[in-house]
């Protein structure tokens, strides 16, 4: 099963199993990762599931769509080249394990 490592702002790591096909956002919400707020439920109307993908994993991910790219302008914590909206990151066996860093604020 795919493992997602969430790194909290303080450095604490939380490793959870992801259901195949679920988004990183849904995986976080299902596992009580409070740093992922996901106010819009994953339809690209907010930026409150913002994560920083670990640099080692970044290039394995499909690039953000135009809609995700636009909404990333509305993150609460500063946007960096590693910024993604976790509702748009689907976990699959092919993608494998993933490490994402959680921002200190979502709004």
């Amino acid at each position: 099963m795919t493992k997602i490592t969430f790194v909290r702002p303080g450095g604490e790591r939380e490793i959870v199993n992801a259901e195949p096909g679920h988004s990183v956002m849904a995986t976080a919400v299902d596992n009580g990762i409070d740093e992922i707020v996901a106010e819009c439920g994953g339809c690209l109307a907010c930026a409150t599931c913002h994560v920083y993908v670990d640099e080692a994993d970044l290039d394995r991910l499909p690039p953000p769509s135009a809609a995700e790219d636009a909404m990333l302008e509305a993150t609460a914590a500063p946007r960096t080249p590693c910024s993604r909206l976790s509702c748009q990151l689907k976990t699959t066996p092919e993608l494998g394990d993933l490490t994402v860093h959680l921002p200190s604020e979502q709004y």
Binding site: D34, G41, C43, A47, A67, E73, A76
Partner: protein, 412 residues
């Protein structure tokens, strides 16, 4: 959701959010909603040519999160009003997204942070207006004035011009559904057109200048469309934020332990704000239209029917929130739907939270012994949608004007 409800015809009721008895008593509204929640997640009403009404939490999430089956494009007010479409709310698809991008631009978290000193200054000036009096009505003197001034400054008006826009915007919102509306809208649109003309002649670094030269897709925005954007800011953000600010202050002042918790740790304020939004959700109802036959929580709803969402009832649903009528500072997570959910999530929510934060922080710092002074009057459902505090009398030790000079610039 299929585990809780078998397919069942929604029970027939005579629920009408415009019923006169609901317009006078907040308690009666809450009791009515609680009664509906006991019956089914969705009920049918014979009022207004027939509509379905959600009663529970999950039904709101299901409908607002599913744009394939439920649309805002036929109007979010029930019964349908003869008004121009509210942007971006009453659009769907790419057209909605284009409007939302334009309208979200001045209200992203980053933009709200930039605006914070202006918000702080507006709040400070409003508190200055009554801090030495020992008594005030917090709705009239604070909650009602801040949101419209913030909207006006946010779009780029000067401190001198903002009160005029507040006046025109407030009058227009008050005139909805009255015969004053055409005149109020005309004056508001004339004011905004003059501001746009000024920005075309003297461009500056503000949102009005962006709108004056802005585009929707591949064509320029008309003055009328820009007026519609600004009108939507007032319709969406004026009374709702006023209601949210009053309610927050009321919870802080009257709930056991909240003020003490804030004094011990100001970092608790975000939790207080979210719990206040959950328990005192300003806007109760927006509608959707069913695009194709489907089910909500096991209740079949046919294509073409109208659905009235109930955000207030959702936020008090005992199946989602333990002990839902209690103000609980430890509630975590607190996934209330006061700002809606899904693609039409309120775009002004960051701004609203920033205003609530500024008002609560400054008021408690400057007037720490503030308490209610007589009866606080709550509205019923205003216009079949809004809950607010009408009168909020308070008393406090008057602020010493000499002490004021020692305050730091941000009121802390």
């Amino acid at each position: 959701m299929s585990s809780t409800e078998a397919t069942a015809t929604p029970p027939e009721t005579d629920f009408d959010h415009h019923a006169p008895h609901l317009s006078v008593s907040h308690d009666e509204v809450l009791a009515t909603y609680a009664g509906l929640r006991e019956r089914c997640p969705v009920v049918h009403s014979s009022a207004h040519d027939g509509f379905y009404a959600t009663t529970g939490y999950q039904a709101v999430r299901t409908v607002t999160g599913d744009a394939e089956h439920f649309s805002t494009a036929e109007g979010v007010i029930l019964p349908t009003q003869d008004l121009p479409k509210i942007v971006p709310l009453e659009f769907e698809g790419p057209e909605h997204d284009a409007w939302r991008t334009i309208m979200l631009a001045p209200m992203t978290p980053a933009k709200v942070r930039e605006l914070q000193p202006v918000i702080d200054e507006i709040v400070r000036a409003q508190i200055d207006g009554f801090a030495r009096d020992g008594r005030a009505d917090l709705t009239a003197a604070l909650a009602e004035t801040v949101p419209a001034l913030v909207i006006s400054r946010m779009v780029g008006l000067s401190a001198e011009a903002a009160p005029r826009m507040r006046e025109l915007g407030s009058e227009m919102v008050a005139a909805v559904n009255t015969d004053r509306m055409p005149q109020a809208a005309k004056e508001f649109f004339a004011f905004t057109a003059a501001q746009l003309e000024d920005r075309r002649r003297n461009p500056r670094d503000d949102y009005l200048t962006q709108l004056a030269s802005g585009a929707l897709g591949d064509r320029p925005l008309t003055d009328g469309e820009v007026g519609g954007i600004l009108m939507s800011f007032f319709i969406g953000g004026h009374h709702s934020t006023t209601a949210a600010i009053s309610a927050l202050l009321h919870h802080i002042i009257t709930e056991n332990g909240v003020r003490e918790a804030l004094a011990n740790d100001p970092g608790v304020l975000p939790k207080v704000i979210e719990e206040s939004l959950r328990l005192s959700t300003p806007l109760a109802h927006f509608a959707r239209t069913v695009l194709q036959d489907t089910e909500i929580e096991g209740c079949p709803v046919p294509a073409g029917s109208r659905i009235l969402l109930n955000y207030v009832s959702a936020n008090r649903d005992e199946r989602r929130f333990a002990d839902p009528d209690r103000f609980d500072l430890a509630r975590r997570p607190n996934p209330h739907v006061a700002f809606g959910f899904g693609g039409h999530l309120c775009i002004g929510r960051h701004l609203a939270r920033a205003e609530m934060t500024a008002v609560a922080t400054q008021l408690l710092t400057r007037l720490p012994d503030i308490e209610t002074d007589g009866e606080v009057r709550f509205s019923g459902l205003i216009g079949g949608n809004l809950h607010r505090i009408l009168e909020f009398p308070v008393r406090f030790t008057p602020e010493n004007p000499n002490a004021r000079q020692n305050r730091t610039a941000d009121g802390k």
